[in-house]
């Protein structure tokens, strides 16, 4: 629906844009229209979310409007030929703040003026500043340059003056150094600003740094391959291979989020965007954990993936609480005990109960009950989580508890099977009858 003028932007299942390699979000503004008076068939882009990245301008349609026919679009900064500074006139006082720029759209050689109209509370001047900085920084050029010639050959920084040493890093705070790739860039920048004699001395280190970047790319590639592999393959893998695969995945999962949502870039939209990014992130760890994860575990994993720009527990909780409002495949759940977990919406308690029931009706378990750690081992989940499941099963009447000096154990609930009018009666084929048989055989 983007028409012929703008590229369609891919989105993740939770509505986050899919970024290019090394693309970093710099500013988010809500309630933004994109207008172009010169083109009659320019798509109608009304009150969406505008994201400025190091590489592109992204426009996402508003969530609520199901009637909206417009889809997410993107415009590469490379196509922008000029950004007009906003005119301070009496007229602009009454208008919504707007930013105009000149860009050449696909297809056609014609360059047109596009207007960004901010109907929300966004800080127009700050956005304009960032827009200008990122446009001037030409991060996309640096990308193609470095992949062509390698980092070592970058002679741009030779003059030594700070504001030409690789446009991306001109002024402090202009672009956030975030994630693993952020660390790598920072290292690179520090190296570039050192003495030339040091450059030679540390030539090996430089080579290592560029290798590290390749390693990250390789790791990402392998992870993709592993994921597709584990989904499609069924028979041929042996255990050892599976084990090493799992180990690899563990390693690779912690490699990092390239463009973490930060308070600085997202501003008022911080929690909303964080929430979406989190939803994307937890999908894979959740699958591995059997559909449910403790909030604390998610907190650790998520922050490890972010590397820098850590989030607080409160931020995590707020991000999770916002899931109710979005169409994401995960949800926050609070157990009666107060323990909070993240689970797949498709995760069903019935399935877990069925497995618990199978476990607790084995002859040994009938006699001695099960502990949360027994359940944890069988279900392949953490003991704390297993206990929550057992308590939920108890509240549903499936289990009942036994507290003794030996500990806290759960038994299949036989109370319902016992007749209060005749306490000696054992109904045939009931669970109680099975239990009596097992219990008397052992004594």
């Amino acid at each position: 629906m983007a028409g012929k003028w703008l590229e369609t932007l891919q989105q993740t299942s939770s509505g986050r844009p899919v970024f290019l390699e090394n693309e970093i979000e710099c500013s988010l503004v809500s309630a933004v229209d994109l207008e172009c008076d010169e083109l009659s068939d320019f798509p109608s882009l009304k009150s969406g979310l505008l994201i400025l990245t190091t590489h592109r301008l992204l426009w996402l349609p508003p969530d609520s409007s199901t009637s909206s026919t417009s889809s997410a679009v993107s415009l590469p900064l490379s196509s922008v030929s000029q950004i007009f500074s906003s005119k301070k006139s009496l007229k602009s006082m009454f208008h919504s703040p707007r930013v105009r720029f000149q860009a050449s759209l696909n297809p056609g050689p014609r360059s047109v003026a596009i207007t960004i109209v901010m109907r929300g509370k966004g800080d127009c001047d700050a956005f304009l500043g960032k827009f200008w900085e990122n446009w001037r920084a030409r991060a996309w050029e640096k990308e193609s340059e470095s992949t062509r010639s390698g980092r070592g050959g970058d002679s741009q920084s030779g003059s030594g003056s700070a504001n030409v040493s690789g446009g991306l890093y001109t002024r402090e705070g202009a672009v956030r150094m975030v994630g693993v790739s952020g660390i790598l860039r920072k290292e690179q920048e520090m190296w570039e600003s050192t003495d030339k004699s040091l450059q030679e001395a540390f030539l090996d280190l430089n080579a290592l740094m560029s290798k590290a970047k390749e390693m990250v790319m390789l790791a990402e590639k392998m992870r993709q391959k592993l994921l597709t592999g584990s989904n499609s393959q069924t028979g041929t893998t042996n255990d050892e291979e599976m084990g090493s695969k799992e180990e690899m995945q563990d390693w690779l999962l912690s490699v990092g989020i390239i463009s973490p949502v930060t308070k600085e870039s997202a501003g008022a939209l911080y929690h909303q965007q964080l929430s979406r990014q989190l939803a994307d992130f937890v999908r894979i760890p959740l699958e591995r954990a059997g559909g449910m994860m403790n909030l604390i575990d998610v907190y650790c994993l998520f922050n490890r993936a972010r590397g820098t720009e850590l989030i607080s527990p409160e931020d995590l909780l707020r991000a999770c609480s916002l899931w109710d409002k979005f169409d994401v495949p995960v949800m926050l759940r609070k157990f009666d005990s107060g323990v909070m977990v993240i689970q797949n919406k498709s995760h069903s308690d019935e399935e877990v109960f069925a497995r618990i029931k199978a476990l607790v009706t084995k002859p040994d378990a009938l006699r001695t009950g099960i502990s949360p750690s027994d359940a944890a081992m069988t279900l392949g989940i953490a003991p704390g989580m297993a206990k929550e499941h057992l308590l939920t099963a108890e509240s549903k009447g499936l289990l009942c508890r036994d507290i003794s000096p030996d500990g806290f154990r759960f038994y299949i609930n036989l109370f319902a099977d016992i007749n209060t009018d005749d306490v000696y009666l054992i109904k045939d084929h009931s669970m109680y009858a099975t239990w009596v048989r097992v219990a008397s055989a052992s004594s």
Binding site: G369, E394, S395, G397, C400, R401, D402, I403, S404, P405, R409, Y411, N413, L414, F415, A416, I418, T420, V423, Y424, I426, Y432, W435, V436, A439, S440, S443
Partner: protein
Amino acid sequence: MQKLGDFKLPHFFNYPPYFTLQPVRDTRNKQVQLWKELILDYCRTQKIFVVGLEEDFPLFSNPVVERSLSHEAREAFLSALVSEGRAEWLDKGHRKCLILWHRIQEWADIILSFVKDNGLEDSVMTVEEIRSGTESRGTELHGIDRTILIRALRLLEQKGKLAIFKGTSTDDEGVKFSL
């Protein structure tokens, strides 16, 4: 099947959760029901009238599965009997409980039939004679708890079936039947 003296215990007496107070309402209700039945049954057959919470009551622990009821659980089950009128606390601290496997009214009826059976309609007996005399031997009244007996007699006195009077020579009370 396990036995406690000559009392036949039900199978679920070896079911460990039976000895842990269940927190889930439906399960707890059933558990309380089963305990009430068992306590009344046991007391009736063993002629036990008073259960002390802090004393060793054979029913409250099961050495076979090494489980015993907590104080809280004992009080919960006996309280359930009290609320149904099948037991009464003997003290405010809930340390002793009078078990009424026959309600007071039922005991009064038993006394009446005992009097009729023995042709004692117009005679005089002491309370102690009713509990341990030759006439009551072999009946349910033999060995009855004194508190329960007095309560049943007072109920009959209210209905004009007898009169209770203080004895002159002994500290025992006398009963004059007048049916």
